[in-house]
Every structure is written in C-alpha cells, then in structure tokens.
Symmetry: C2
C-alpha cells in the first residue's frame, strides 16, 4: 500500500533500539481518515472471503478493526482483553502471549459469548513481528471452534519470523507494508 | 438518545454486583454501525464548538473516539495510555487515576507531542461513574495548556458523583444515556 509506505517514511521514526514508532497516526494519536483507507485496503485484499467477525487485541488494534468493519458490512468487532476486569465474563477463552515491547507474559481473553463455533474470523492488528499476539488470537479461535479466514496486518516486520511462522501453518497473511530492515535507523521496505 | 436507551435495555445486563454490562456492543464486542450513530449524536450535541482533537483513554474509549472523529472532520484522536511500554515516549504528561472496576491506582499518560498548548480538546469515553478517568484526562489537558471544550459520555451512572463533580467545575458534559439506578438489577434511566 503505497500511501502507507509514504506515511511511514514521512511520519514514522526509528528510535535508538531500532523500534519503528508510528504513534503519530496509528497507535497513540490516530489519523481516522487514513485508518479508513487501511480498512478499504483490507477489504480489497480479502475481497474473496466471507467474514462474520473481526478479531483484534487491545489497545492498538481497536481503532484499526473499527475502521475496517465499515468496509465489511459492519460485521462486529471483538477485541481480546489483556487485563482482568470485573467487567469481563468469567467464562472466557484464554491464551498466553509474550510481549517483547512490554517484556512480559500476559493472558489474552475473549468472552465465550463473542466467538462461536463455525464463525468465520478475520484477525487484524497494527504490527506483526514474532507473531505472539496473533498466535494467541488463533489459539482462541481454535478453542472456540471458529474458522480463521486470514490475518490483516498494517505493518509487518519481515526481518522477524512471525509471517513465516503463520504462512508455514497455511494461514493467509495480508500485510499492507513490509519492513525488511531498520538497521542504522533507516526504514527499508521489502 | 432513544436508540441507545433501547439498546441498553435490550442488550445490556446487570450482574450481581450491580455492574451494567454492555460488552456485546460497546466495550468488548463492538457494533460499529451503532458507534457511528453515537458519533453523529456527539456532533449534534457539540454542534456549536470547534475542536482540534478528541482525547480518550484506552481501551474502551478508542472505538468510540474513532467513530466520533468521522463526524468532526476527522480531527485526530489521541488515546491516553495506562501501561508503560517501550513504544511510548519518555516525555509524557502523566496523571494518576483510581479504577474501581479494576480496584487499582494507575498512571494515564499522553506523549507531550500529541497535546499542545491552545488546542481545543473534546474528551469522549464509554462510562462516567465517579469521574476518575475523566479527571485524569482533564489534568493532562491542563498540564499541556490546552483547552477542554467538553466531555462526551456514552453512559452516565448518574447515581455516582462524576457528573456533579464535573459540572461543579463548569465543565460541559453531554451524556447520551443517564442511568438513575441499577437497584434490584433493574435499569432505570434518569
């Protein structure tokens, strides 16, 4: 997606730990008009599939999934929760995920009421790196007996092994921008 | 907002702790078409103000703010973060908030790059109860030297004192549904 690559180059920054920061349009401050473009692009990429629900994970995936739903006939969005809360059902599907950016292991949870057997699920998320978060969501989909139809990623870090891990499992991954390297703070696309 | 009251009555449930659960359309599973109706309603309520940014707090406010931005000429959404992350700037505005649903004190943080002096800010959130989260956001707006133009709330628990607290400070609060009582698990609107 050319406009996304352009936006990453103009608005993204790479910090000293070689982390790509896109928090001025994607995951802290949000450019909603641009997110709608991303949603449209996901619809084009997944033009041939029928989906019942979009699944994502709090927090950064929520805005992306919300914008995307509009181009998939407003199918419901479900976001997996990372934190226990008195508002969450006790009866949940649960999976463990390790976050490298937060350096901790956490549970991801979805109420059993919101994913059902046989439902066709599209996962969307902001980043795909080592694939931990997506694997957790896939585990939840499997527990529910639902069907994963694909994974839509805004930015793939292709130098990490998440996309290979998923494709080896026969999972369809559509990444709108693929980063090959951030070495020397230079953003290089695949 | 009649359609919201209707939705709360048909889809909402009150659990044994007298907590109103609306997680099948608002804060776990999300009905995006309905969120757009909520966004339109906020525009009507705040028809007379100019705003530069919408500020909310992760996670439940994000989808609401994203939908709402579309009716305010796609102004940027900024969501305050509750958790430290290596992705977050070190230079942040920070405030302390006590969460009654999670029973803990936490920091809310916004990068100093995303709220600037003089900007006109609309806060939106899913619930207003005792006002802790909103007061934290207002503290951040004040630290930044920005201007709060109002607070848009989807569901106000009018039997708690958040709205009185805010109105006593001269803050304009627009709540789309006001709950007077959840006694005996009955949802009673004001």
């Amino acid at each position: 997606m050319q406009s996304l690559k352009h936006k990453i180059l103009t608005d993204g920054t790479v910090n000293s730990h070689e982390i790509l920061k896109v928090d001025n349009f994607l995951n802290h401050q949000i450019d909603v008009k641009f997110l709608n473009e991303i949603g449209k692009e996901f619809r084009e990429r997944f033009y041939d599939v029928e989906i019942d629900k979009i699944l994502t994970i709090e927090s950064s995936g929520i805005a992306i999934a919300t914008a995307t739903s509009q181009y998939f006939d407003y199918v419901p969005v479900v976001f997996a929760k990372k934190n226990e809360s008195s508002n969450l059902d006790e009866d949940v599907y649960k999976s463990k995920v390790f976050s490298y950016t937060k350096n901790k292991l956490y549970d991801v949870m979805v109420s059993k009421r919101y994913i059902s057997s046989g439902e066709k699920i599209l996962i969307v998320d902001d980043f795909l790196a080592k694939g931990g978060a997506v694997m957790g969501l896939i585990d939840i989909i499997t527990q529910a007996g639902a069907e994963l139809v694909g994974v839509g990623i805004v930015i793939e870090k292709s130098y990490q092994d998440g996309s290979i891990l998923l494709e080896d499992k026969g999972i369809r991954v559509e990444s709108l921008a693929c980063i090959e390297s951030l070495e020397n703070k230079m953003i290089k696309f695949k």
